[in-house]
Symmetry: C2
Subunit: 210 residues, 2 copies
């Protein structure tokens, strides 16, 4: 069985919770603990672990340190993951300067923008023109890009990103881009999320189904 996106999402959450438990002094955890913390069944925790050959001891549970090491390897935390930000408007620059990346083993190595007035190769995180996409991406072995450009620019940019060797795009434009064979795309649409919540909030009488 191949891991699905949902399973990997849960692995990230196990990892996050395990660090919290570790800081509380936990040496070992049971599938029950993790299930409670994530609001899922202990069986699912065990099943997920089983898929990745993460084993525990009957009655003894799982060793926090051991699972964490395994999870870090699976999620690529043993190497710094370089990413770029394409589109350095308000949203893009807010993301570039977000300081949560480092502690998650990620680094924004550069920004890119079509607007020459935003280009600044001397900045702490340099900003280049789009013509430098391939050069910089190859130099830093970048595989993943955050895309914060206007909706109209998004579709054509995908081709440039692919040519530059980008395999994963986190798209913030309010347009649902479909993954291709050669490129995984995740869409984060604030408008869509709000619209979704607004529906359920406006229909609270209907029991919320999540």
């Amino acid at each position: 069985m191949k891991p699905t996106e949902e399973i990997i999402r849960r692995l990230s959450n196990y990892r996050r919770v395990l660090y919290k438990l570790k800081s509380l002094g936990f040496i070992k955890v049971f599938s029950d603990n993790l299930g409670d913390a994530l609001g899922i069944s202990p069986t699912q925790v065990r099943k997920d672990f089983s898929l990745f050959k993460i084993t525990g001891k009957k009655k003894g549970g799982y060793e926090v340190e051991v699972i964490l090491e395994r999870l870090n390897t699976i999620l690529g935390k043993d190497v710094i993951q370089n990413v770029i930000v394409v589109g350095c408007g308000k949203m893009g620059s807010a993301l570039m300067n977000y300081n949560g990346f480092a502690s998650e083993g990620m680094r924004v190595v550069a920004g890119f923008d079509a607007d020459p007035s935003l280009v600044d190769p001397e900045a702490r995180i340099p900003i280049y023109g789009l013509e430098d996409l391939s050069k910089i991406s190859q130099q830093f072995d970048v595989k993943v890009a955050i895309m914060t450009v206007p909706e109209s620019r998004a579709p054509q940019l995908i081709d440039s990103l692919n040519e530059a060797g980008i395999k994963g795009i986190l798209n913030f434009a309010p347009i649902e881009l479909k993954s291709r064979n050669d490129c995984l795309i995740h869409n984060i649409s604030i408008l869509l999320e709000l619209e979704n919540m607004i529906y359920f909030v406006n229909n609270l009488d209907d029991k919320i189904v999540i």
Copy 2:
């Protein structure tokens, strides 16, 4: 059957595609058209429509104008939906000034921040201290909040938001907050999304399962 989050997400996407088709001159569409555009089966389109009593004509398909009107009603587009932004740091202010809300029938009526130096009730979109949450939320009948605060502040803020009558929270802090009975929470975690993509990009040999 109650609509799930996924179904509402698809309704949003039908709506988006339908506006595009309308601008291309389409008067009617078939479930095939919509399925193709969204990469889903025509059966699913018909099933979704059926759930909301959106009907078409055998052989004649669906009338674009009619479905759009229905979808707009379902998704609350017939009334302006007021939202607030809690936490006016870089991310929060980038969101407040994002100009995609208006065309989707949403309006950011105010921002809130614990830091008094950010408070500015005279700004185009006024920024208040947290003590004004209830007053302003009630004044503008706000039910949904965008939360862009540091992780450490997030949990306690939920209580304040609930007291202010907020029923839905779009959380940007990198902490997976669980929905409660009285409050729907959607988490948007850039780090989690990146981590997820990084996994699949680093394991491209394993066929991607989406």
